[in-house]
């Protein structure tokens, strides 16, 4: 077995089949060097690390206590302490000299007592931490670490990063027979036993802790700049009488200071990344909701990240999560994504919650369900597109959470967020998918756009009804069907591949549009995103240019129509999509295309033109994207599509008007789709889509009406396309 395989197993191996965790962790965190030549390399590595800790322990724990009592150790080779000429001005408990061992002793005592205060209350529900030897071991390890890193020293929370590491090593340790340590003739077996040697629990726990802290250390740091920044939030007026307060600094200055604080303090920067970079893109609605409630990410994020969720999950689940985290990356690269997945997991509660509810949910995270433990889950469960055969039944809830996290990492866009949200709904037994739209303004990065309470608050309560005519089963089916790439094996003809993609697109399209109650412009953009998602999740081998030939025009055409609708009825934009202008709406497309590029393994450095990121090897892809991009996006926005030269050129170049073609294509596919519940075709025949409106929602009730290019009022703008 290779280390890679072992890492893969760490991500998703059912509980029962797991290896010795302490050994896995030592491998994942690169304490043990790998799985080759175990009999030789492991003993070397173990010896090196253990000797290292022993030396540190002697220097910081054993020696200082000796130095305090020089007379009792006359034989030690310690010139100053052993010498009869001890300088009593230095060597006495009242000495203020910095090099007095007594000064050091007092400092150390204070440090130890600070550490002990926390160690004594480490995981009170885990009996093993109440044992005196456990407390001594944890205190010693933290003490040595702090002496080694005086700048960071001890910060509350480190003890809870250490504790699970220590416990795992301790639990799996083996007391080797001292008189006969080499009973095993097999070198590998001997090395494994050596790795589990009960005499070195403390040493090994220190080694693992040090490795975790290489990354985690900065999360405990509060920089000096930051301290000053906060201190200056109000500058004291020197002229005022004692205690008199100076006026507060202006709001803008305050914000500046707070930004400074965030930048200079890694943990705050990390929390901000989770929230303002990742969540905002993956789940714009949830982001907007929390932002409007002014729930700042550091309020809950500091503890989540510093303790790596030690307070959020039960101990066993925590172990599984850490195993996955370490297996994924010794530098813990998935931390931010786990936080995003955790936010998505409770999104229903958050979206329906007020300030206090949201904070309580986030700061006392509810028990986590996994696909195996969710009682209410109704099949089919939306699978991960990249892992359609992932065995869900044996996964710990946190392992499944981790799968969601790394799925979001590799598919960094809102459509992936929707899939995860749908999975989470399924776990709750909620059958709705494709809930109403993310507010469109969140597609646009412009900070000047005002918040739009109608959009962010308009999530319907979970629907569970599945009566005849309900779009829900269709939607579920469509979601599962639409999210299982690869869309074709490489041997499939490109034509059928393209058809498959288009059919999938049409499938999810019917689901989206039937159940969606939101503003049409946003819905169309959403659909584009779904198509792009289809592309993005397809296996690279299956993605040849013929895909792009088929799908990209669909996307572009849709976008083009979106723009047309928006231009003909700008009021629709105002109603449905905040105050975003068409150009703002469309400005987001490069980002989607950038995602596409990223999913093809092409570095995403999209700036202006997405094609810039495509290397030469993907020239055909790049050309197609560039062409479509240029024609669609760069075309003047001031005039309606039907009269723009670029638009005309595009239509004439294809000789068949794309929209009607696309429409008939989709209609055909809808009629032929045999793998979907028939009610979809019968109750929602193409062209007579269900109403966009809900009577209870007066704001939305107006939005579906739009105007087509000729100025006729049309009931359903999508009817103009399909």
């Amino acid at each position: 077995m290779s280390l890679t395989t072992l890492r893969e197993q760490g991500l998703a191996t059912p509980l029962a089949e797991r290896h010795l965790r302490s050994i896995s962790w030592k491998l994942y965190l690169e304490y043990l060097p790998g799985l080759s030549d175990v009999g030789v390399l492991w003993p070397e590595a173990l010896h090196k690390e253990r000797t290292h800790y022993q030396r540190l322990y002697d220097r910081y724990v054993t020696e200082p206590s000796r130095q305090l009592n020089p007379a009792t150790e006359p034989d030690r080779d310690r010139p100053r302490s052993a010498s009869p000429d001890v300088d009593l001005r230095v060597y006495n408990p009242l000495s203020l000299a910095e090099d007095s061992p007594w000064q050091l002793y007092f400092q150390d005592t204070e440090l130890r007592s600070t550490i002990q205060k926390d160690v004594e209350r480490t995981f009170p529900d885990q009996p093993c931490f109440a044992r005196p030897e456990a407390r001594t071991a944890l205190t010693d390890i933290l003490f040595v670490y702090c002496k080694l890193h005086p700048d960071t020293s001890y910060r509350q929370g480190m003890h809870e990063l250490l504790a699970p590491l220590w416990k795992t090593v301790w639990e799996e340790s083996v007391a080797l027979a001292e008189d006969n340590p080499d009973t095993s003739t097999d070198a590998i077996e001997a090395a494994v036993f050596q790795a589990l040697d009960a005499n070195y629990v403390q040493h090994d726990a220190f080694a693992l802790f040090t490795r975790v802290m290489r990354v985690a250390r900065s999360w405990f740091e509060i920089s000096e700049v930051a301290t000053n920044a906060t201190a200056n939030l109000r500058t004291r007026n020197p002229g005022s009488a004692g205690g008199a307060r100076s006026p507060p600094v202006s709001d803008s200055l305050r914000h500046l200071k707070i930004n400074e604080l965030s930048r200079a303090t890694p943990i705050l920067a990390k929390c901000n990344n989770v929230f303002f970079q990742l969540l905002k893109r993956v789940d714009p609605s949830l982001f907007t909701h929390l932002e409007q409630l002014e729930i700042e990410p550091q309020l809950f994020g500091i503890r989540w990240i510093r303790l790596l969720w030690g307070r959020e999950f039960p101990f066993d689940d925590l172990h599984s999560l850490w195993t996955a985290l370490f297996a994924d990356d010794p530098n813990l690269g998935a931390v931010d994504w786990v936080c995003v997945a955790m936010l998505l997991r409770v999104r229903r509660t958050l979206l329906n919650g007020d300030y206090a509810t949201c904070l309580q949910t986030l700061m006392r995270y509810p028990a986590l369900m996994g696909p195996a433990s969710a009682p209410a889950m109704a099949a089919p469960f939306p699978p991960f597109p990249h892992l359609p055969n992932l065995q869900l039944t044996g996964l710990a809830p946190t392992q499944f959470l981790f799968q969601q996290a790394i799925y979001l990492r590799s598919h960094f866009h809102a459509a992936a967020g929707q899939l995860v949200a749908a999975q989470n709904d399924a776990l709750l037994g909620i059958e709705t998918i494709n809930e109403p739209l993310p507010p469109v303004e969140t597609y646009v990065t412009s900070p000047s756009l005002p918040a739009h309470p109608v959009n962010s608050r308009s999530f319907p309560s979970p629907r569970t009804g599945t009566g005849a005519g309900s779009p829900v089963p269709v939607a579920r089916e469509a979601l599962s069907a639409g999210s299982i790439p690869p869309v074709a094996t490489p041997t499939t003809t490109s034509r059928s591949t393209a058809t498959t993609v288009a059919r999938r697109a049409s499938t999810s399209q019917s689901a989206v549009f039937d159940s969606r109650l939101g503003p049409p412009a946003a819905a169309i953009l959403e659909q584009c995103e779904a198509w792009l998602h289809q592309l993005a999740t397809a296996a690279p081998t299956a993605l040849d240019t013929s895909h792009l030939d088929t799908v990209l025009p669909l996307v572009m055409e849709t976008l083009r129509y979106t723009r047309q609708i928006l231009q003909n009825d700008p009021a629709a934009v105002g109603r449905g999509a905040g105050s975003a202008t068409p150009s703002q709406l469309l400005r987001h497309l490069p980002e989607h295309l950038g995602n596409l590029a990223a999913s093809l393994g092409i570095p995403n450095q999209v700036e202006g033109s997405p094609a810039a990121a495509f290397p030469q090897t993907h020239k055909p892809v790049a050309d197609r994207v560039t062409e479509a991009f240029e024609r669609t996006i760069r075309a003047p926005l001031s005039s309606p599509f039907s009269t723009t030269p670029a638009g005309s050129a595009m239509a004439s170049a294809r000789s068949v008007p794309l929209a009607p073609a696309m429409r008939s294509h989709l209609v055909t596919k809808t009629a032929h789709k045999t793998n979907l519940p028939t009610h979809s075709a019968s109750s929602h025949p193409a062209g007579q889509r269900t109403s966009w409106t809900r009577p209870s929602d007066p704001v939305r009730a107006k939005s579906p009406t739009s105007t087509n290019a000729k100025g006729d009022r049309i009931r359903d703008p999508l009817g103009a396309i399909f």
Binding site: T114, Q156, I222, H255, E294, F300, I302, A356, M363
Partner: protein
């Protein structure tokens, strides 16, 4: 601060206040809150990392209820620079020390000074000497703490989170000290801030008109 008004006659008003707990590590801040909110106590309580958040309601009289949004902060000195994040726009603060630890009393004084210098000018501060079940180990005389509190204009109470002594009284005393002049303070609550403390200005929770979709922020 926020105010809830019932729709019917004789309905009670609910006032929301943000309360922050400050004080040295291991003086019992979290235990105090847990006693207040859940009426529970554990000999060993996990140290607070970052902060914890609770809410609890205190009836003041027949017509008035105070709802505290409680921020329980981490005590370690090294995280002091993050404290303003929590006490920003707090309307009340509970500064806790351990009556068996002289140093924690000194630390409490510096917190009081910082609050008086940097927090909301109208903040109500209560000084609390916790662990008063450990009288045999007392290191801070009650008179001394009382004298300091009087001088600095603070509420003062000695409590025991372990026995529950005076914990309810403490929060009730704070609630009564809060400005319950809705007219004046509902306006004040309307200002925006990055901290989230201004929310929710008014919520209509009492008359059953609780709006799941969100609070009206007047």
């Amino acid at each position: 601060m926020s105010i809830s008004r019932g729709s019917g006659a004789g309905a009670t008003k609910t006032f929301n206040f943000k309360l922050v707990l400050l004080g040295e590590s291991a003086v019992g801040k979290s235990s105090l809150v847990v006693r207040f909110v859940k009426d529970q106590f554990d000999d060993y309580r996990e140290s607070t990392i970052g902060a914890a958040f609770f809410t609890q309601v205190v009836p003041v009289d027949d017509q008035t209820t105070v709802k505290f949004e409680i921020w329980d902060t981490a005590g370690q000195e090294r995280y002091k620079s993050l404290a303003p994040m929590y006490y920003r726009n707090a309307q009340c603060a509970v500064v806790v020390f351990d009556i068996t630890q002289e140093a924690s009393f000194e630390k409490a004084k510096t917190w009081v000074k910082e609050l008086q210098r940097q927090a909301d000018p109208d903040i109500v501060i209560a000084l609390v000497g916790n662990k008063n079940d450990l009288t045999s180990r007392r290191a801070v005389p009650a008179e001394e703490a009382q004298a300091y509190a009087d001088e600095a204009g603070l509420l003062f109470q000695e409590t025991s989170a372990k026995t529950g002594a005076n914990v309810g009284d403490l929060f009730k005393a704070i609630a009564k000290k809060m400005p319950l002049d809705s007219q004046k303070h509902s306006q004040k609550g309307g200002r925006t801030s990055a901290s989230g403390a201004s929310r929710p200005s008014v919520d209509l929770s009492n008359g059953g008109a609780s709006n799941a979709a969100g609070n009206c922020a007047c």
